[in-house]
């Protein structure tokens, strides 16, 4: 009975963790809706299949091996983690009530699922960037490698206590560890598969390929925004005392403020540039604000958080336009949202966290980028050699849905385009 408060604390922290995990899991639906809304109708079933299956594959791969690589029981060195499979037993009541600094204060199962949904989110970033041309199963095979090894290894370097962590690299909830990492892999994939047919004209002009269902894309944004409360809020890892509860609440406020500011600024900026209020930029702006604040959602006050998000909103618009100039075709803006805004976010840590150093942030970002880009590039190259990455020209013209999935997304509405 006298242990009840400690047990309650453990239970509350576990519950908080589980709810945050559910919110992050829900982001899978957000990515699916966002991407399904921003591709053409003829590639919609395929992108839905990708988003659903990548989530499933990520959960399995991370359970099997990814989690143990990222959080090894017994790491070999700051660079090389160990290798282990599946999950161990959960904490015993005795260990919990024993107290002391090392006593576990939440379920390790809750920890696992929270980490697993992060891995899935990283992979979701890639699917949008290669939409409408990368084949389904080569993509899913890449997902296996990505979630089993590529992502967990860099995750270990920072969050698993590896060398980037020791170096003082600071990334609270993953502006770089998750978002830019996903964007780096996406960049490798985009370079390897090339742009969609017809995206860039022979005279270098950029051709718009409008998405088929904008309400769906907007729903995706709202879902991601909602899920981000779990993403950042859960990354505090504890809520069960006054200080921690305040911290989580502040993270909620800052996350929301950054998203709001990123959205409004991107919309205003797009309007100034184009003369119209581009809804896809409104959406990308909100997401960029969220990515930008993710590296440090706790220390800034709400005003500063708004500014960090606002700059994210500017960055994403510029990045979208720039990538198109570079003929890097990213149908949903994933590289801009998660990559460009992620890099901004990681350096924005310097604004509010006195422990952050420019060099550590730079090294952490560079190392993560290099690893994610190169490792992804090599794995994709091998898959390309073995089975090919891209659909045939005819399949692309007629749509991946019929060829890969034997089905149309909107069989009663779709026109012959």
């Amino acid at each position: 009975m006298s242990n009840l408060p400690i047990e309650l604390s453990y239970a509350l922290d576990t519950f908080y963790f589980l709810i945050c995990a559910v919110l992050v899991m829900w982001m899978g639906a957000g990515f699916a809706m966002l991407e399904a809304g921003l591709v053409r109708s003829k590639n919609t079933v395929e992108i839905l299949n990708k988003n659903a299956l990548l989530y499933g594959i990520a959960c399995i791969a991370y359970l099997l091996v990814g989690y143990n690589i990222m959080y090894p029981a017994d790491p070999v060195s700051g660079i090389i983690p160990g290798l282990d499979f599946l999950l161990g037993a959960d904490n015993s009541t005795d260990a919990v009530v024993a107290g002391g600094d090392d006593a576990p204060y939440y379920s390790s199962m809750a920890d696992f699922i929270f980490q697993a949904v992060f891995a899935a989110a990283t992979m979701s970033i890639v699917s949008g960037a290669v939409a409408e041309r990368m084949r389904l199963w080569p993509f899913l095979i890449f997902a296996v490698f990505m979630v089993s090894f590529i992502y967990p290894l860099e995750g270990y370097w920072k969050w698993g206590g590896g060398f980037l962590d020791e170096l003082g690299f600071l990334d609270f909830a993953g502006s770089v560890v998750v978002h830019m990492a996903g964007a780096a892999a996406a960049l490798a994939a985009v370079i390897l598969v090339g742009p969609r047919k017809g995206k860039y004209g022979s005279h270098g002009e950029v051709r718009a390929i409008p998405g088929a269902n904008l309400p769906m894309a907007t729903l995706g944004m709202f879902i991601l925004w909602m899920g981000w409360f779990g993403f950042n809020g859960g990354s505090e890892l504890k809520i069960a005392n006054v200080e921690e509860a305040n911290a989580v609440a502040k993270i909620f406020v800052n996350t929301n403020a950054a998203a709001a500011a990123g959205m409004v600024v991107a919309a205003l900026f797009a309007r100034a540039l184009f003369g119209k209020t581009d809804l896809t930029m409104t959406i990308n702006g909100a997401l960029a604000g969220l990515v930008a604040i993710t590296a440090e959602p706790l220390l800034p006050d709400a005003g500063t958080a708004s500014l960090i998000g606002a700059v994210g909103g500017l960055v994403v618009v510029i990045s979208v336009l720039t990538l198109d100039k570079l003929k890097l075709d990213d149908p949903v803006g994933a590289i801009s949202v998660h990559g460009a805004a992620g890099i901004w976010g990681i350096f924005a840590v310097l604004i509010s966290n006195p422990d952050a150093t420019f060099m550590a942030q730079l090294i952490g970002t560079s190392v993560t980028f290099a690893w994610m880009f190169i490792a992804s590039f090599i794995v994709l190259l091998i898959i390309k050699a073995v089975m090919g990455l891209r659909v045939s020209e005819e399949e692309e013209m007629e749509g991946m849905d019929v060829h890969e999935c034997g089905m149309e997304a909107y069989p009663e509405f779709t026109s012959g385009k």
Partner: protein, 112 residues
């Protein structure tokens, strides 16, 4: 018998219907089409890239009718569909050899 094909602005469809019915046009067929003539489309914008939507949405009316009604119908459609700006549309007149009503098997003018 004649077949009139009219390409008109979508929102004038309702205005065209009334006059046609009072003249005694007993049926018509509507298709959603796109096209251009002197009116040359407009630009939209997507993620910063402008693109021409070169074909403007229009409504195509097809009306099979007795030669006697031809002038009146041309008049009626022209009147109701005219705004005076580019894009008002066109009327095409063709000969119609034969008409059948599927329900009864009637043919010729009585099938209209």
């Amino acid at each position: 018998m004649k077949l009139i094909t009219a390409i008109i602005r979508p929102h004038t469809l309702e205005e065209v219907r009334g006059p046609l019915q009072s003249i005694g046009v007993s049926g018509l067929t509507v298709t959603e089409v796109k096209g251009y003539g002197r009116q040359q489309g407009h630009t939209e914008l997507y993620r910063g890239a402008e693109y021409r939507v070169s074909f403007v949405p229009k409504i195509k009316l097809e009306i099979a009718l007795d030669d006697a009604l031809l002038d009146q119908v041309v008049e009626a459609i022209s009147g109701a569909a005219r705004t005076g700006a580019f894009g008002d549309g066109k009327l095409f007149i063709q000969d119609l050899d034969q008409v059948f009503r599927i329900r009864t098997g009637e043919s010729g003018a009585s099938a209209l």
